[in-house]
């Protein structure tokens, strides 16, 4: 494949990783949501580019889903959730932002280290894509475990899933990609609804140890 397409794909994928870092950096919920929307847009571009390069038209559907659902609907929904439930606006972090960033860099190093062992036999694009996708996935997970708010955890999960979609689309001629992305969107939708229905305010930790003592037969 020619250099240009490669570079573009590379650029977009790299952009995703960068945006993941920006998300880690944020400490306000709204801006977090905005940046997530931005990541969704970039993902949509990347997917579309892959569709164009591999001339696999069905991938455009995935791109569209990414654009419509993740870049528009879900962020809006979450905005409204935040307002409705009166969740206060700061991102509560478990460890300091700086530390999180350091950890993130470590993760990136790790994923590159892992992927560089892969033989060159696999075509370069896939290889780069994979390593970036792995970065995004790991950063998403990192976000989930270092943020207390339900919302930011959901965001983390969705960015993790962005990484998955990136990988899936990067894998040339992979079947079921669309179905999978649909399935995942359903999942995410469930989660958002869940947050909204169950009034899960501050964190997934609604049921803290004390609550457990009450609600479970497992207390002393």
């Amino acid at each position: 494949m020619n250099g240009l397409s490669f570079d573009v794909a590379h650029l977009l994928a790299g952009g995703l990783v960068l945006i993941s870092f920006m998300m880690l950096y944020q400490d306000r919920l709204y801006s977090l949501l905005n940046i997530f929307a931005m990541q969704a847009v970039v993902l949509a571009l990347a997917v579309a580019w892959q569709a164009f390069v591999q001339d696999a038209p069905h991938l455009y559907v995935t791109a569209l889903i990414a654009l419509v659902l993740k870049a528009i609907i879900i962020p809006v929904a979450l905005h409204r959730t935040i307002e409705r439930l009166g969740i206060h606006r700061e991102v509560e972090t478990v460890v300091g932002i700086g530390l999180t960033m350091l950890a993130g860099i470590g993760l990136v190093a790790l994923s590159l280290l892992l992927m560089l062992r892969v033989t060159i036999g696999v075509d370069a694009l896939a290889r780069e894509d994979l390593s970036f996708a792995l970065c995004v996935v790991l950063l998403g997970l990192l976000m989930m475990v270092t943020r207390r708010n339900a919302v930011s955890q959901i965001v983390g999960f969705m960015s993790l899933e962005n990484g998955l979609v990136l990988a899936a689309t990067g894998a040339k001629g992979m079947p079921l990609v669309v179905e999978i992305s649909v399935a995942f969107s359903v999942l995410v939708a469930f989660i958002v609804i869940g947050v909204f229905l169950f009034r899960i305010r501050e964190r997934f930790d609604t049921v803290d140890v004390g609550a457990l003592h009450r609600s479970r037969g497992d207390s002393e």
Binding site: L114, V137, A167, M174, I180, L187, T206, A211, R216
Partner: protein
Amino acid sequence: MTAFDAIRAVLIIPALAAGLLAALPGYRVTSRINVVASLLTLLAAGSLFFLARPEPGSYLFIDDLNIVFIVLNCFVGFTTSVFSMTYIAHELETGKLTPVYLRFYHAMFQIMMFGMNLAFVSNNIGLMWVAVELATLSTVLMVGIYRTPAALEAAWKYFILGSVGIALALFGTILVYMAAQPVVGEGTDAMVWTVLIQKVSAFDPALLNVAFVFLLLGYGTKVGLAPLHAWLPDAHAEGPTPISAVLSGLLLNVALYALLRFKMLLAANPAAISPGPLMVILGLVSLIFAAFMLYRRRDIKRLFAYSSIEHMGIIVFAFGMGGPLANFAGLLHMVMHSLTKSGIFYAVGHIAQIKGTQRIADIRGLTSTHPWLGWGLVLGVVGIAGLPPLGIFMSEFLVVSSTFARQPLLAIPLVFGLLVAFGALLLRLTGVAFGEPTGSTAPARASYVPMYAHFLLVLGAGFYLPPPLVSWFQNVAGLLG
């Protein structure tokens, strides 16, 4: 009719039944339909034995390995549907469930059966992933069906952890595809398991390794291996007991099955890391961790949930050890555990309904007040603790002795874990089954058929395994390498 129709039947019957049950009102009808549908599925599955095996398609196939799982799955599904007739009736009377939710419950039950059967028969790792996710989601909904805070929280925890697991598993699947694609070529073939297993030796080992790590953790979350187990105890404890039975008896097996498939892939590639050690370590960790956790349990269903973790640990350990003896033991242990544990949950369900509590401390002297339930529970716990004459004894015998002969240092923690778990289970059993009775002594309106059917099977297996079954197990053990 060919085996392929049988496979389709195994999938279609539950799907249709699900639709039907979602539409129909009235518990008497629906619960019976539920039973009938499960029975039909079981028959279809059973017919798989006798019909000629078709060529594996690119989506569905049937081989020695998955037939074990399918038949077991349909059997336990059937008995559970029978059990849930009486159980759910009681839930309706006590008003814990409304007819609407009941409809939902039955539909979900069939969807779950569909998902699990699909996972078993799918020859395509992508499809398998989708099926597992489907099964998981349906159980999530059923765990939360009581809508108590505890139930919702359990369902939520299950949901979130499950989704993360799913995501990891998917990433692993993609990696496998990436590894396969250069060798097999683009398109569906690169996801067809039967194709992969033939060509896997040429795949890129590094990719496979990373893939296996993600798959191990992804599907391992569903198997309930420590430290990925967190959802399991609460999901068992807070959901309806039939679902606890199915979770322990079947869903864990589904994830385990997926894990095994990929283990076989990796084992077939010389350059890749051997998956054995990872599985052995995770297995031991789960076993010992769960064994200790058993001691502080106050909730009887959560107790047995942890014992499921413990046994999954043993099974994964056995498969990790590999070799004909250990694999045979692993398979046997898996089957026996499914039967025994679901049987135990049947008993526990009725007990909890009679006593109106799941607190172990409030249940005493069952053998005096409810001999059938009490002695049934004793039999089940004795079986699950690995005592003869029940079947698990044989598998534990094989695992321990063969391990000690090969890796003495691994056998020590194994034996230690077994002993610690035994102590805890027996301690609780003594309290629940013996001593001065407490709580309601109202006679149980329960059908003991499913429970004792399971226990009798396990008892029989403890004495005698029919030769065809054995040769078939050995065959599968050979497949597992």
